[in-house]
Symmetry: C2
Subunit: 319 residues, 2 copies
DNA sequence: ATAATGGTGACAGACTTTGTCATCAACTCG
DNA sequence: CGAGTTGATGACAAAGTCTGTCACCATTAT
């Protein structure tokens, strides 16, 4: 076998084994220990992070991260990776931040100068706008890890109403929306699914009390969909074209919205009676772009709200 | 020089040169033509797309895409790249879509099975929510290209007011915000900077009439910032903690906002008098979370607006 | 102490790569 | 056409690199 091929296979083998002895590999590849030692040194120089200990029960280890065999990317592919990572630059507390940066610098180092220029000039010409000031979500990595492994966490959650409290949860999925990270999880304290704002999770540790994880294999991202409303009431409203455009950027509304051919639209959906205050605020925000048809309760709530606001601003005027 | 090293350098050299003759490389590397020929054949087998023509003025060419020398990525880096591209999945009409996909499949192919599983399970556990229904922006690639090269385009633009019209523009930057792609550009018809919605640009072609591009080297993303208000008026308002959080997700507001230590905040900024109606709507949306201090004109505008809305909903009640 | 294990240097022999040369093929240009 | 340019391929000896063997050292667990 030519040396170059042997080196490749050796790289794959050591990545698979993680721990091994020189004699082992020598037998496997049908070469002498000396050769394997020389090869391992070369791999080391090529960037595979090897660590060795002498003595009985010693041997080689691949330390830290495993390395993929070298891959030849085209320039276009490298630029695309840059673009993707660049697009996420406004999001703070991202998982894999360090890894992205190191991957990008590897691409950057191996690039001929003209492609670097191309990328540098692209940097300032294209952008994804994200809401500013994302709050820190210190436990994001733990939450994601727990969601992947489907294990139970004990978290310190600072809810708006009750202040800090401890909860046992099993994360289902993590998602970012409009400036915040959220985590849908099964809450063992409430015995139901709940959505947590990740920046309010101050600490997260793996549960050691032996709570048995739920079988949530099929429960995935869909879990963030709203649950069925209790005490439903029918909401019907007609939206102008502008109204539709505004509603489309509201994630929670999108599934309730039917768009007509001419761009105008209709909301027709059962909603929870408890949410009247919320919908009243929202309808007020839409102003003349919405014509509410029912329920009467919502109209009433809107009028009450408007009157309260008017009083508030009348009050100011008197100051 | 060992062969392996020479092959690496050869790969970089041919990528830089794009066109070359065997004799040239032989001199450059101090080896014989025969050796270079053998090396080029090996590079070819390694995936570098080489093409050769015999005869005078013939020679070698690197065909299609240039290839970077093989890079060894760690697993973590590969996962990070997956994450980044995955996060953008909801955005339609992205540039570099094909390249991202092919880069990802290269990573995927070279990965040991357990990492694939890790990625597969991550896919369904983490998400970036983007507003739905992005309109198609068919000319995005052209716009980006023109922005990078700073060249002039002739576009067919369908404005809301005047219907379709032809414009000569020089794109400055492209950005995505809240479900739409925008392009800031210098418009030669209006002789000023304008922002175009990319989905309303039906066609784009390079200008052939010889319009001289502007010197826009220093004009970059900042161009999307609001210009100075004409007829300014001072706006001062105090925001509660909740109010601050809501404002932070409004991009245009972020620069006007000062956050205090306890999470509450202040808006204090000169704004344009023409925008009173807009600010009135916005303040109403903030409800009790904002205490407006000045200007008087805005309070008046809010009261007017509230009264109008109230009338609208009183009207409904009478239906 | 003993045995297991990695690390290094030297060197001859095995193996690979290289240079040279010869020959061919495709093509351009005058 | 014919002369010149350029790539493609095969053969083979010379040059160079890689490999196995061996001797020896260092470290460490038992």
């Amino acid at each position: 076998m030519p040396k170059s091929k042997r080196l490749m296979e050796l790289m794959m083998t050591v990545n698979r084994k993680r721990r091994f002895k020189v004699q082992e590999l020598a037998d496997e590849f049908g070469v002498s220990k000396r050769t394997i030692l020389r090869d391992l040194q070369e791999l080391s120089e090529l960037g595979v992070p090897l660590y060795s200990e002498v003595g009985p029960h010693g041997g080689y280890q691949v330390v830290r991260e495993r390395v993929l065999p070298p891959i030849a990317f085209t320039e276009g592919e490298a630029v695309a990776m840059f673009f993707a990572v660049h697009a996420l630059r406004h999001y703070s507390s991202l998982p894999f931040e360090a890894e992205s940066a190191s991957a990008l610098s590897k691409f950057y180092l191996h690039m001929p100068g003209d492609v670097r220029d191309r990328i540098d000039s692209m940097k300032d010409r294209v952008d994804f706008v994200a809401p500013t000031r994302w709050s820190d979500a210190p436990c994001l990595a733990e939450l994601l890890d727990a969601a992947i492994k489907q294990s139970v966490l004990v978290i310190q959650y600072e809810s708006q109403e009750r202040g800090a409290e401890s909860r046992r949860i099993q994360p289902v999925c993590i998602y970012a929306n409009n400036g915040f990270w959220y985590c849908t999880a099964y809450c063992f304290n409430r015995q139901d699914y709940r959505v947590f704002r990740c920046d309010r999770i101050r600490e997260a540790a793996y549960d050691t009390s032996g709570t048995v994880p739920m079988q949530l294999k099929d429960v995935r991202l869909s879990r963030r969909d709203a649950s069925q409303p209790r005490d439903p009431i029918r909401l019907r409203a007609v939206l102008s074209k502008t109204g539709v455009q505004r509603c489309e950027s509201e994630l929670w509304l999108a599934p309730l919205l039917q768009v007509r051919e001419d761009g105008s639209g209709v909301i027709d959906k059962d909603v929870s009676r408890d949410d009247m205050t919320f919908y009243a605020e929202f309808m007020i925000g839409l102003g003349d772009e919405v014509a509410l048809e029912e329920p009467y309760e919502l109209k009433e709530a809107i009028r009450t709200r408007l009157a309260a606001l008017l009083a508030r601003y009348e009050g100011y005027a008197a100051q």
